[in-house]
Symmetry: C2
C-alpha cells in the first residue's frame, strides 16, 4: 500500500484547505490587527537542502540493512521529513528553512531490518529519528546535538498482523496510518476508536510513542490504555512485552515504552484492544452559563458516570469564536460555553447512557441544544489543522498547547496559562485571543487545550518562543503536566525535567544508556540532559 | 495508632481461627489421604533467632536516623518480621526455623527518616527490606545474598495526609493497614474500594509496591489503576510523581515504581482515587454448566458490559468443594460452576447495571441462584487464609498461585497449570486436589487463581518447591504472566526473568543501579541477576 504524503508546507491535503469564513477574517482584522501576510510559501522545487553528511560507506551500510532502493537522499524526500507540524515548524519550512533536514530517509520493512539499521547507525555514530505520520507538534522530529541523522520512516511496516477476535485484540505495525488501520479493522467488524485531531495522518507507532489521546477517549480510552503489548527494537536488542492485560509481575515495562518518543527504541508492533464497530452514534450540544459551571458538570459525569464516548467543553472565548461550530458565530448559541457530548455503541445501550448523562448535565445547569451542534462538531472534527494553514496564509499566527491536572487544580491552571500567554504576546505587540477547551476527563482530573491566535508580528517564531516559555513555566508552577497528549519532544524537554525532577531524569538516562549506549536514538528529544541534576 | 501484630506462625488473629467443617475433614482423609500432623507449632517464646550481625556502630547509625527506641533487636520482634505468609513460610516458622530473621527491625516515622535510614544503610552495606503488612506470599521479605539486613517496618507512617474532595483523591502513608485506611476514609464518606483477601492485614504501601488487585477490581479497578501519585525515598534521592491522572509527558514513571517491590526505593506516600461509600451492595450467585461456559459468560460481560463490581467464577472442583460456599458442600448448588456477581453503588444505578448484567449472563446460559451464595461469599471473603491455618493443623498442605493471560490463551493455560500441579504432586506421592477460579476480568483477558490441597507428605516444603517450579514453567510456556496479583518476590524471579526477557531484566537492573547504587534494597527480590543475560 502506498502511503500518501502530507502537504510539505502545511497540514494534509491541499485539496482540503479550508477557506476562512468571512466573520473570522473580520474578527482577525478588527480584534487582533491581523494583516495579510506578505509572502506565500516558497515553491517546493525551490527549497534547497544542505548536502547530506553521510559518506558512501554510511549509505552502503544502510542499503545493506534495508536495500538500496529504500535509502533516499533526494531533496524532496528530505524536505518532506524535515521537522513536524507545529506552527513554528510550518513557518520555517514555508520560508524554505531546511537546516533540520535529515541526511537520508531510510525505509525498513521488518522488525529485523529496523534492528539492522539501529546496529549500523550505532556503529557509525548516525542518529536515528523514527518517523511515523510526521505530525509531531513538539519538535519530536528535529534532534539536537546530532552531527548527522536519518529519518527512519516506518511507512512500509503497515500491516494488520493478527486479529484475535476472542480476546478482542489486534497486532498492528507501527507505520500504519490511523485511517488505514481503521479500514483494515472495519473490514473485520472492529474499530480502534482512536480519533485524535491528527487522525488523518498520524501512525500507530506514533500514537504509542507519544501517548496519544483521541477525541473519544472518554469512551474508548487513551491510546496508552488500549495498548496491551509491544515489541521494540533497540540498539541493545529486543523487547517483547505484554502477556496479559494486567499483571502484578513487576513494573509495567509497557508504560516505560509508551511515551518514550523514539528515545529508547523503535516500536515495531503494537497489540491493542479493539471493539466492534458501533452501530449507532449520537453527538449533541449542551450549553453552560460559564466555563466553571460546565467544568463542574463534566466533573460530575466523570466521577458519577456513566461516561459518554465524547465529552468536551469550550470556554467562553472558544464558544464565541465558534471553533466548535463555525456556522454559529454571532448566532444565539455563542453565549456561554458549548459542550459536545457524544455516544457510540448499540442503540439500546446508548439510550440508557444518554439519559443518565442528560440527567447529570441538566442537574448541573446544562441546557440541551440538540444534535445540530454535535453533528457540526463531528463533521469538522479533523479540520482545525487545515484551518491553521488558512490562518497562516491570512497573516495570523495560531498555535495550540495543552496540559492536564487534578480537578482541584484546574481553575488556577486555566487562569495561569491564559495570563502567561496574554501577557507575553501583548508585551510583544501582538495581543492574542486565547481560547480553551476541556477535551478529556477522568474521575480525578481533566485536560485543558489552549488555542492562541494573534497577528504574526515581525518575528512570529521568536514571539511565540517567549509566549510558549511563559506558558510552560505557568503550567509547571501551577502543578500541571507539561503535556496531556502532544508529548515532550525537544520543545518541552526543559519543563519536563522540572516535572519529573532530577532523579526522574536520571532514571530515564539510565534506561536510555542501557538500551541505546551510543546515544543515537532521537538525541535531544524527551530525556533531560545530565546537567539538569 | 498502635498497629496489631498478626499471628506470628500463621494468618491474622488466633481468635478468628476457622475450625474445619467435618465434611472437609472427611474429604481430606478420604480423597487425599491427609493424616493429622504430628507436631503443632513450637511456642513463640521457644523460638530462637540467630544473633544479630549488626555491630554497635550500625545500631548507633540507625538510632541516629529514627531514634533509639525505634530500632528493635529483641527476638520476638525479629521473629514477627521473618519472611511472609506463603505456606512454605508458615511451615518453616511453625518449625521454629528463623534463618531469614532480620538483624534488626527499624521503624521510621517520616519520609525524611526513611531517607536517613537508606543513606546510613548504603554507607554501611546493610540491606533493607521494606515491611508493610508482612503478607507477602512470594518470598518478598526474605532477601537473598545479603550478609545482614534490617526490616524497615512502616507502621508508624499510618496517616491519611490529605483528602481532596473535589478531585476525589487521598494521600495515604504507606504503613496504613487497609482497614485503618478504610476507616479514616469512611469517616469522611469515602472508600478506596480495595478488598484483596489480605485486606485485614495488608498495607497501602504494600498494595502499591506489589500491584495488588482486590476482589472488587471489576468495579473499583486494581490498586495500580487507583494510584495517581507517589513519593518515593531512594538511596539516590527522592521521586515525586503524578501531576495529573494521565499525561503524555514521557513514560509513566509511576508505573515503574508500582510493582517495584521495594527494590528501587521505599514508597513514602500514595495518592489514590477514592469514591463515595456505596449506599447499597448486592451480591448474587449464578450457576454455569461448565467452567468454559462460565468463562465465556464472564468474557461477554467484560467485553460488552456494563461490569458488576465483583465478578468471579469457580471451576467445577472449587465449586464442588465449596470454597466459595462452605455451607453448601454436598448440596444442590455444588453442580456445575458457581459465579459470584456483586454490585456496589447507588440503588438506582445498581438496578440498571444488575439488569443489564443479568441479561448477558442469562443469554450465556447462566442460571440465577439469588443472593444467598453471594452473601455467603461476602461474609467469608477474608476467611481463606484462616482456613489455611486450620488445614495445616489438620495435616493438609494448601497453597495458592495465580496468573493471567489474554482470553484466547486462558483454556490452554488453565489445563497446563492443572496438569503440572497434579503431575508433580502425584509423582511425589501426595496427589492433590487442584481448584481454580477466575477472579479478575478485563476486556482482553482474565486472571486464574489456583488453590492446591494435598497431604503434607514427608517434606511438604520440598514437595511444593517441585510442584511450584513445574507450575511456573507451565505458566511461562503457555504465555501467561507469572503473577496477576501476588507479585514476584524471590519465588518468581526466575520465571519473571523469562517473562520479560534478558533486555527487560537489563532495564530493571539499570534503574536499580541508578536508584540504589549500593544494592541494599531488597536484594534478590524481583530484579533478575545479570547472569540471566
Amino acid at each position: 500500500m502506498e502511503t500518501r504524503d502530507m502537504l510539505w508546507s502545511g497540514w494534509g491535503d491541499p485539496a482540503k484547505a479550508a477557506p476562512l469564513p468571512e466573520p473570522v477574517v473580520g474578527l482577525l482584522r478588527d480584534l487582533l490587527g491581523v494583516k495579510p501576510a506578505a509572502a506565500p510559501p516558497v515553491a517546493l522545487d525551490a527549497v534547497a537542502v544542505p548536502a547530506s553528511r553521510l559518506v558512501p560507506e554510511d549509505l552502503g551500510a544502510l542499503a545493506g540493512a534495508v536495500g538500496a532502493g529504500h535509502v533516499r537522499t533526494d531533496a524532496e524526500t528530505r524536505v518532506r521529513h524535515t521537522r513536524g507540524k507545529s506552527t513554528p515548524d510550518l513557518l520555517r519550512i514555508r520560508a524554505g528553512e531546511t537546516s533540520d533536514a535529515p541526511d537520508a530517509v531510510v525505509l525498513p520493512a521488518t522488525h529485523d531490518e529496523v534492528g539492522s539499521v539501529l546496529r549500523a547507525c550505532s556503529e557509525r555514530g548516525i542518529a536515528v529519528v523514527p518517523f511515523g505520520g510526521g505530525t509531531s507538534v513538539v519538535g519530536g522530529l528535529a534532534p539536537r546535538g546530532a552531527e548527522r541523522f536519518i529519518a527512519l520512516d516506518l511507512r512500509r511496516m503497515d500491516a494488520l498482523i493478527e486479529l484475535d477476535e476472542v480476546s478482542r485484540t489486534a497486532v498492528l505495525q507501527p507505520g500504519l496510518r490511523a485511517p488505514a488501520a481503521e479500514a483494515l479493522l472495519n473490514e473485520r467488524g472492529y474499530t480502534l476508536g482512536h480519533f485524535p485531531q491528527s487522525f488523518e495522518w498520524a501512525s500507530i507507532g506514533g500514537f504509542a510513542a507519544a501517548r496519544s489521546s483521541g477525541q473519544a477517549s472518554a469512551g474508548y480510552g487513551r491510546f496508552d490504555d488500549m495498548v496491551v503489548g509491544l515489541t521494540v527494537a533497540t540498539p541493545a536488542g529486543d523487547l517483547d512485552l505484554g502477556r496479559a492485560p494486567k499483571s502484578a509481575a513487576g513494573p509495567d515495562l509497557r508504560q516505560l515504552v509508551l511515551g518514550s518518543e523514539g528515545a529508547f527504541g523503535v516500536i515495531t508492533s503494537v497489540t491493542v484492544r479493539v471493539r466492534p464497530v458501533p452501530s449507532a452514534t449520537e453527538y449533541e450540544g449542551w450549553r453552560f452559563a460559564t466555563f466553571a459551571d460546565g467544568a463542574a458538570a463534566l466533573r460530575g459525569v466523570a466521577q458519577d458516570g456513566p461516561l459518554p464516548t465524547v465529552l468536551r467543553l469550550s470556554d467562553e472565548a472558544e464558544t464565541m469564536v465558534g471553533l466548535a461550530d463555525p456556522a454559529a458565530i454571532g448566532g444565539a448559541s455563542s453565549a456561554g460555553c458549548l459542550a459536545i457530548v457524544g455516544f457510540e455503541g448499540e442503540p439500546g445501550e446508548i439510550a440508557g447512557r444518554r439519559a443518565a448523562v442528560a440527567d447529570l448535565l441538566r442537574a448541573a445547569g446544562g441546557e440541551p441544544l440538540g444534535t445540530a451542534p454535535g453533528d457540526t462538531w463531528a463533521h469538522g472534527r479533523f479540520n482545525a489543522p487545515y484551518l491553521r494553514d488558512s490562518l497562516l496564509d491570512a497573516g495570523a499566527f495560531v498555535e495550540t498547547l495543552e496540559t492536564a491536572a487534578f480537578w482541584s487544580g484546574i481553575p488556577a491552571l486555566y487562569e495561569a496559562v491564559r495570563a502567561a500567554l496574554t501577557g507575553t504576546l501583548s508585551d510583544a505587540g501582538t495581543p492574542p485571543l486565547v481560547m480553551c477547551h476541556i477535551s478529556h476527563v477522568y474521575p480525578a482530573g481533566a485536560s485543558l487545550y489552549f488555542t492562541v491566535v494573534s497577528a504574526q508580528g515581525a518575528d512570529p517564531v521568536a514571539h511565540w518562543a517567549g509566549a510558549k516559555r511563559a506558558a510552560c513555566d505557568a503550567i509547571v508552577d501551577a502543578g500541571g503536566t507539561i503535556s496531556h497528549h502532544h508529548g515532550v519532544g525537544t520543545d518541552h524537554r526543559d519543563a519536563y525535567a522540572r516535572e519529573i525532577g532530577p532523579l526522574g531524569g536520571a532514571v530515564l538516562r539510565a534506561v536510555k544508556e542501557r538500551l541505546d549506549p551510543a546515544g543515537i536514538l532521537n538525541p535531544g528529544v524527551l530525556v533531560p540532559p545530565a546537567t539538569e541534576e
